[in-house]
Amino acid sequence: MSTAVVTTRGVAAAEWIKLRSLRSGMWLLIGIVVSIVGIGVMPALGVAVGALPPDGSDPAGAALGGMSAAQLLAGAVGVVAVTSEYASRTIAATLTAVPRRLPLVGAKVGVAGVVVFLVALGGVLVAVLGAAALLASAGAPVPAVGPTLARLVVGPALFLAVTTALGVGFGWLLRSTAGALAGLYAFLFLPSALGLVVPSALPYLPGNSGIAVLQSGPGLLPPWTGLGLYAAYAAAGLVAGASVLVRRDA
């Protein structure tokens, strides 16, 4: 008993136990996989059953059709990892056990982020490879995605993990599930309206920056630059959330 102390590893282990025993979290993770795979294979399935012409349009890009839905869910994973503690009032026990508080921020981001990354990675792989298999089985041309496969799979998974981190930040900032979700979605989507007024700002807005890793096009930064900026927004959200956690009464 005398060797029992607070360690980063211990706090992370606790977060893992909490996340896997949190029903809402598990449903959200299942939702992420269903969105990515379910929506992702639809275009290829359409070609395979002859409902769509095999026009050779980017099947890999099309396989990421479920990312918008998955983004909402991934953000919610981060949010509930924090707000479930306030809703169930376990936050008092948690902060009594980890009175320095800051290790909790890292543990929640780390655990929820890694879990979402791995789940998304699996989902995207299945979606992209599944789409290719469906096209091939229908005798339709399968565009080569070889050199960009890493970005097509790892990029979206990172994109979702960063969204989860952003959700954790909003969770610490606002504490209530509904409030934090509203705050997160407003942060992602409201500024994009500004882009209509100042088009040059569009690539740098929170909701648009990360999308660069999913698709290319006008009004988007280079893929990794965009994702990097998105991660910077998440980091800023976490710093703000952490400062609220450390300063305010529990």
Binding site: V6, G10, S21, T90, A97
Partner: protein, 302 residues
């Protein structure tokens, strides 16, 4: 040992705890008493650093809780009986808490046994009764084999068996040399459990006394009946004397003996039709002190 020094905590315009200085010593059960809203829960939250004081500080075993490398080994706290996620099992709840401080699963099973929840440990805690929730909270408080045990209103919602069980548990923990600090608004409960009492009223320290001292300090009440209650009230008025109307012609007097009252009445020619000294119970002593706090703030402060 818990050292609370000049603790002040305000919420907006409300001062919940007002310059509280008191030391809670190990090896005995210290009851923390006061009416609802006296600042007991705020004080307990400040002890474990959940609420930040406006001024003052709290040291546990000589250091701030936030500076403690093994927080659960120093303090175990039950501050809120329903502070668990309803979808998690009791076992999972405890395992997560234990993991933060590197406490093994073996210890989780031990505390489940101590509180008698082993058989239901796999069930979703949302279905627990209030009493089972209290037991789970106590199990969580005991996880780190703590030197200091803080329990906020632990007997709330417990059935009579549970009340006896917790009384024995608190006595045993104190007997092992731990600091046991238990809040309650029920004097009757503390009279059976505590060795020492800290009384709080409107955020201020009213008394820091042993149970025996409090009983001794409580002057008996004297019930007086007279057709001239107003005149008698004027007659008895003095610092340290409280006269309250107990009936149309009846007064309750604290701070004067029956003999003193009889003599004063005789001298002034006031008729007494009844003069009954009432033995003070601990409950009376407690009410008298919290009552005095309302009427003469600070007068009784130790």
């Amino acid at each position: 040992m818990i050292e609370i020094r000049n603790l002040t905590k305000t919420y907006g315009a409300v001062t919940a705890v007002d310059d509280l200085t008191v030391t809670i010593r190990p090896g005995r059960v210290t009851g923390f008493l006061g009416p609802n809203g006296a600042g007991k829960s705020t004080t307990m939250r400040a002890i474990v650093g959940l609420d930040r004081p406006d001024s003052g500080e709290v040291l546990i075993g000589g250091r701030r809780h936030a500076d403690d490398p093994a927080p659960l080994h120093t303090v175990g706290a039950l501050l809120d009986a329903r502070a668990f996620h309803p979808g998690r099992s009791a076992r999972t709840h405890l395992q997560a808490l234990a993991a933060t401080n590197g406490i093994g699963r073996h210890r989780v099973e031990e505390v489940l046994d101590v509180v008698g929840l082993r058989d239901v440990a796999h069930r979703r805690a949302g279905g627990f009764s209030l009493g089972m929730g209290q037991r789970l909270g106590i199990a969580a408080a005991l996880l780190g084999d703590p030197e200091v045990v803080l329990l906020d209103e632990p007997v709330n919602g417990l059935d009579p068996d549970g009340v006896v069980w917790i009384r024995d548990l608190l006595r045993r923990l104190a007997g092992e040399g731990r600091t046991v600090f238990v809040s309650s608004h029920l004097m009757s409960e503390m009279a059976l459990t505590a060795d020492h009492l800290v009384l709080l009223g409107r955020g201020r320290l009213l008394a820091d006394v042993s149970l025996a001292e409090l009983t001794a300090r409580a002057d008996g009440r004297v019930l007086v009946r007279s057709p001239q209650p107003a005149e008698l009230t004027r007659l008895l008025a003095a610092p340290g004397v409280t006269v309250t109307r107990a009936g149309p012609e009846q007064l309750a007097v604290v701070g004067r003996t029956s003999a003193e009252i009889a003599r004063a009445a005789l001298t002034a020619g006031v008729l007494l039709t009844e003069l009954t000294p009432v033995h003070a119970s601990l409950e009376d002593a407690y009410l008298a002190m919290t009552h005095a706090d309302v009427e003469f703030p600070g007068r009784v402060a130790a």
